[in-house]
Symmetry: C2
Subunit: 210 residues, 2 copies
């Protein structure tokens, strides 16, 4: 449609080992128009990280002030550092017709739903079975059996939240799962709210023809 399009956002959650990162990478490769929101954090920049591009680096006081003022769409504390999503750039991107992908945990997803309303699509990536999840987690070869067991237990706690999501994508086989995730993204771009002027401009062509 040549007329104004509003952006949409996709919130993707999954337990560790479900294949979320691979699916997200494929989606962003096919649709370069999708961008990630830039998070704010109180942790120190790592070598090579650019302020405002990789993260908004804030002091602890600044972060808490932003949070109090309702300027964060979601936030979390991880290992003593705060992370969050500034609301204004998200709203601006959507108004400019850019689509945004949020890669968050289930708590972050719940906070996003509170801040951003009923507009986005919330997708949960499900493993086909516990056995397959275990196989993937231990197959990485990077984690000790204790860490794998911890991730497997965490997955159970995460999965309980899956009913709060709009779509379930089962990742038994990558190509099928990707086709489903791609379908969710494409379908959600066809929501009438993303095309606020189209119908009005189309109907105006009838008025003009009289």
């Amino acid at each position: 449609m040549p007329v104004r399009r509003l952006g949409m956002f996709l919130v993707i959650c999954a337990p560790s080992g479900a294949g979320k990162s691979t699916l997200i990478k494929k989606l962003c490769a096919e649709f370069p128009a999708i961008s990630f929101s830039v998070s704010a954090t109180t942790r120190s920049p790592r070598p090579g990280e650019r302020p405002g591009i990789d993260y908004h680096f804030l002091s602890r006081e600044e972060f808490l002030a932003w949070r109090e003022a309702g300027k964060l769409a979601e936030w979390a504390e991880v290992h003593g550092n705060f992370y969050g999503t500034p609301l204004t750039p998200v709203r601006q991107a959507l108004a400019d017709g850019r689509d945004i992908l949020f890669d968050v945990d289930v708590q972050g997803a719940a906070l996003l739903r509170q801040s951003l309303g009923q507009e986005g699509a919330y997708v949960y990536i499900l493993p086909p079975s516990r056995a397959e999840l275990y196989r993937r987690l231990s197959g990485r070869g990077t984690d000790s059996p204790e860490v794998v067991a911890k991730r497997l237990a965490a997955a159970q706690a995460e999965l309980v939240q899956a009913p709060l999501f709009d779509y379930w994508v089962e990742n038994a086989e990558l190509d099928t799962a990707y086709d489903d995730l791609r379908a969710v993204y494409m379908a959600e771009r066809r929501r009438p709210r993303c095309h606020p002027d189209f119908l009005r401009e189309l109907l105006a062509q009838w008025e003009a023809a009289v």
Copy 2:
């Protein structure tokens, strides 16, 4: 998912000339699991039409009794004959995991929403412009200029109802429009309500592993 899946239904509307029939034909060719609901009608069977397969043929009295008893998901009167969708086979098909496509007008879509609740996906196929719709309607070469003008005027009245639908598929170019319609169908099959046992059975694998 190997566990029980419930069916979903797709309601597709469009003004005459938007390309609905072609899109539906492509969708049913790619996904043979999609079936049409069998309508009830009071008109006489035409040669070759099989009762219960092409139509449920009812007397006027039977039809009105079904309507009164709330046995029809939607109904309409066209040229003095009644047409309608019996509710029970639809509910049975969905419970059996079969997906159903409804090819109805906007009034039928509104009645379906009333009868079947918030479960299905309601798609409106939009022409890219009035000029293109005119080109397609007159390009068929089968209709007189008067009939084309009538269809064009009817399209305007139909389009006003488009905001009541969940998705808008713009048919400027067939392959793009089909990719969008296909996405809506695939995405809607990933709704949690279509997989009522999956999460429970997945979580049970954790209980069994303890």
